[in-house]
Symmetry: C2
Subunit: 469 residues, 2 copies
Amino acid sequence: MAIQKPTLPKGTRDFGPLDLQKRKSIIKNIEDVFKKYGFMPLETPAMENLSTLEGKYGEEGDKLLYRILNSGNFLQSYKDSTDYTNAIDNIEGKDIVKYIAEKGLRYDLTVPFARYVVMNRSQLVFPFKRYQIQPVWRADRPQKGRYREFWQCDADIVGSESLINELDLISIYHDVFTQLKINYELRVNNRKILAGIAEVVKSIDYITTIAVAIDKLDKIGEEGVRKELAESAFTESELNTLFEIIKSKGNNQFILENLKDKLKTSETGTKGVEELSFLLQNIENCNRATNNAVNLKLDFSLARGLSYYTGCIFEVTALDSSLMSSIGGGGRYDNLTENFGLPNVSGVGISFGLDRIYDVMEELNLFSASIRTTQSKILCCFFDEKSQEYCLPAVTKLRAVGIAAEIYPDVNRKKAIVKQLDYANALQIPFAAIAGENEINQNVFTLKNLLTGEQNTLKLDDIIQMLKE
Amino acid sequence: MAIQKPTLPKGTRDFGPLDLQKRKSIIKNIEDVFKKYGFMPLETPAMENLSTLEGKYGEEGDKLLYRILNSGNFLQSYKDSTDYTNAIDNIEGKDIVKYIAEKGLRYDLTVPFARYVVMNRSQLVFPFKRYQIQPVWRADRPQKGRYREFWQCDADIVGSESLINELDLISIYHDVFTQLKINYELRVNNRKILAGIAEVVKSIDYITTIAVAIDKLDKIGEEGVRKELAESAFTESELNTLFEIIKSKGNNQFILENLKDKLKTSETGTKGVEELSFLLQNIENCNRATNNAVNLKLDFSLARGLSYYTGCIFEVTALDSSLMSSIGGGGRYDNLTENFGLPNVSGVGISFGLDRIYDVMEELNLFSASIRTTQSKILCCFFDEKSQEYCLPAVTKLRAVGIAAEIYPDVNRKKAIVKQLDYANALQIPFAAIAGENEINQNVFTLKNLLTGEQNTLKLDDIIQMLKE
């Protein structure tokens, strides 16, 4: 076989020791919080039937699905089909794809979760609170912060319409980002408020038009949004009413009172205001009880692919970072499992974008300095066969009491110790235990602190005692 | 969209809360031991370029690779190729696969590791000790204990020829299986001994013939192996010599002395005996130092796809299980990174089969009874809006001090408490805190132990105190 220079597929990454330990530290944080709130873990296969995935993510999503070629002579089932045309010139990929690929890679964690709930509904206890932390794959154009393999960390509750679930999810965001020391902003909106706005401004039929337009407020500004909506026959006066509502300023209480008044003619809108009021009031009560500072920012322009959500909508951004895109989001939906034959199951969920959180923490230098490439606390160094024989049981003893320890495996008799200490320094192993002729005779080790250079002669038991502290 | 009954791709599984917690308990055990021995984590992408994967697992392996269909109009690059034939009738899948699929799913953890080492060699500190715990995918026929998505847990050291690495790996097997309470047998052989046997019995040219035949000893018995080798022109006397060596009985010391004598005319064989002697002697020394009982079973018929290994060969089976296949294995190899342009890097590694270990532990009932579907310790129950308002800050306080707590989100005024206690019982949540009119007035909760039925009236702080203990 010819020698090849290996590469990685575009948009994918290896995670080496240090990167991975940092990622794991984020995951552990999120997972511990999920558990503290009573969420239970779920993992689904990387491969799903395409019948499960297709049609769930819109036309654009279908294009971004990774499809897996059937095994064996995959062309045969096309040849056997009624669509069969013998000349390849007359065929395009999309004409034969359904015959040659039955499976695809997981595109998000929500659809597999819905499939799981439907398949296991008779065994599950509802409300069912699950979390799921797994990679997903999208054939998107890779760019800074956007990968073809990336991780999602989701928590959802299905089978309950209570706003207490929204409260829990908001509190989860707070706990996670506070522990990670990320200064965040959690923006909240409600589909019912968007509906109310549409009703009051023009008519409920315009909810999508309005939502799509105002969702771009950040990017194209008020002028841009006005221009776009003017093209959809919005009058100057309608647009003024709209911006009066969504640009309302003040504290949350004031903004909400104002909104309540503006939407009083809309039943749906009033319901939306009540839902947000419930959240704000209870957050305040709980903050008071625990000296927490959970905080929401009302943002009536937030839509997040409206068609999906039916109630609250969340989005989180990191405040001090140059990364503008969201590091989390979610909301309430009522039709998640309907596609799979289980209608009327209400759910609400949030997602953490692991890769973006990682990027933010790297940028802001938020990872604990104690995260090292290796956990090893001590390297046992030896010169020759005799000290090797002396060191091997020692390293076994260290490990037996739970201390991460290594013995350098190879001995170059000339520069043995230099090489071994180089290894320890490169991996930031804090201590080296050295055993030469003298040490062996006295049944001790020379313990070198590689940070300070300090050396002491110690018995193994004393080294164990010291490292365990 | 028509309603569909969702299914999972054949050979794949969902892991629900209880299964997954059990699997995570195994992984945590393995990972903690890996770390204790100085191994560092690595994760590689699910997708690799097919050029990285193909040709590395033999012809059979190439067939079992999952290939990912290129995005867009994937047929075009075939149409543009010199292999192009317009009539589909004249084409089979294998003729066009290289034009329509560039990427494949990870088939094992070893080849991606080799690729990683080659791509990152200038940054890595050698010897490089990495562990990797990830799923792999094979388009194999699914059967009991064999899945199309399954997990491997690998630890490898590259860049060191020292047998101390083999000692570490043997000790890792011991630590993991002892902690998991799996009664295991670790069989060990050495490629050099197999070479020596071939030399002594007939000639080194027959090493593969012999290895392939005696590897089947378990399945086809001595008679079967004799018959197979007789067909390769082995004489009765040669076969007698062979079986005298591989069937040698007694303690390890005796067997090895015997082997040493038998292989004395083979330089390679003698080297193999020395290597095993080194392992046995040092294991004995370390056992003595720590009261461990690490044990090897010499098995000169063990080959494990010989072509791969160049030194020690390991295989682990669970002794009390009906599962006959191995739950772990590995060995030393010298040519792992050669395919990717980096020759002369010696490595040694082991793998744990997570799915099989899980099956063994389920069969033998070895999982800790403390593994539950949820971590929640307490459910706060309420009757109406007033008690909800009383309970919400309480559950926030419980979580703030790190106690996994839930509040049941929905209230059916008629049978509120029954439904909530049903939920707690179904999820084995051990305590329920109930707050009615009286409790609220006295600023207490009725705490119900759901295991014993015992009830007490307690202040929240006392509940916290009790649950933290």
